[in-house]
Point group: C2
């Protein structure tokens, strides 16, 4: 195959993949919607690229990983702030348990929460352009929990478009 | 576009992407090769999917993430042991530093090492089918360090094809 054909094919591939993976409205069939924001668990989020891992000390004792969809990854790469509409970040959290194989290591235990931030500057204009969703075993947490999201992000991460996580290079 | 055309296009895309991202011989232009094994830093590994995050206590004090190429991810998904030839796992490690934004959180600081396991059952028959590469700032660590890799994986992770990391669901 000639290089130009390969390049065209690669472009088509990229378009198809963007269309198939970056539709933030695409949700798992059995998805629940978060109170206040109506955020659903996006299909295929576990396949998204890693933005950064993190730890959360007691009492939560969690290991976490923030993943981002293609729009998110590109925004981090380009240093684009505010994040563009369509950005979705996923924070996966697990109990942090000792490795059975290596005394000094800790590894993910049971999953605790999966949380999402969805950028839609019009729909979520009242909360910095972000919608929030917090899920436990695929079920959205209650409204009281969702009332806490934006206040904390606003108080502590406003200068980075309300997003705590930096890209881990 | 008809569904059948889209399906064919998606298959072509998958083949092109596999060819472009899963050739374990593809290396960064300026790549260094590890002693003993000749493992190079694979191009694009930072875009690979997350297998699991981990922590390493003192004295290393690291936050880590293990990523895998498509062959690795599929093997984890299917529970395939031993991992097939072409599997590549990447372990990224950073110093674990307090978040400036949130007292109970720790986040990645400076990158410390990037390490790879490459499955080639013929080439690396003497070490369980795995070649190892440990890199600091893109430069391979010395031979003495590479002599330690397999002994430890053999002693502690043989039952999981010498791989410590499990997939974080």
């Amino acid at each position: 195959m000639k290089p130009i054909h390969l390049a065209v094919l690669a472009m088509i591939c990229a378009m198809v993949l963007l269309a198939s993976t970056d539709n933030t409205m695409a949700a798992a069939d059995d998805g629940d919607a978060s109170p206040i924001y109506g955020v659903r668990i996006p299909a295929g989020y576990r396949q998204w690229q890693l933005i950064a891992p993190a730890e959360e000390a007691a009492p939560l004792n969690e290991i976490r990983a923030v993943l981002g969809n293609t729009i998110a990854v590109n925004a981090y790469r380009d240093g684009a702030l505010p994040f563009p509409d369509g950005t979705v970040l996923a924070k996966l959290a697990w109990k942090h348990v000792p490795s059975p194989d290596f005394a000094s290591a800790s590894i993910p235990g049971a999953a605790t929460t999966v949380q999402f931030m969805v950028k839609d500057s019009k729909k979520y204009a009242a909360t910095g352009g972000w919608g929030f969703g917090r899920f436990v075993n695929g079920k959205a947490a209650d409204e009281a929990q969702h009332r806490t999201c934006f206040a904390c992000h606003q108080a502590r991460a406003k200068a980075h478009d309300y997003v705590f996580t930096r890209y881990a290079h």
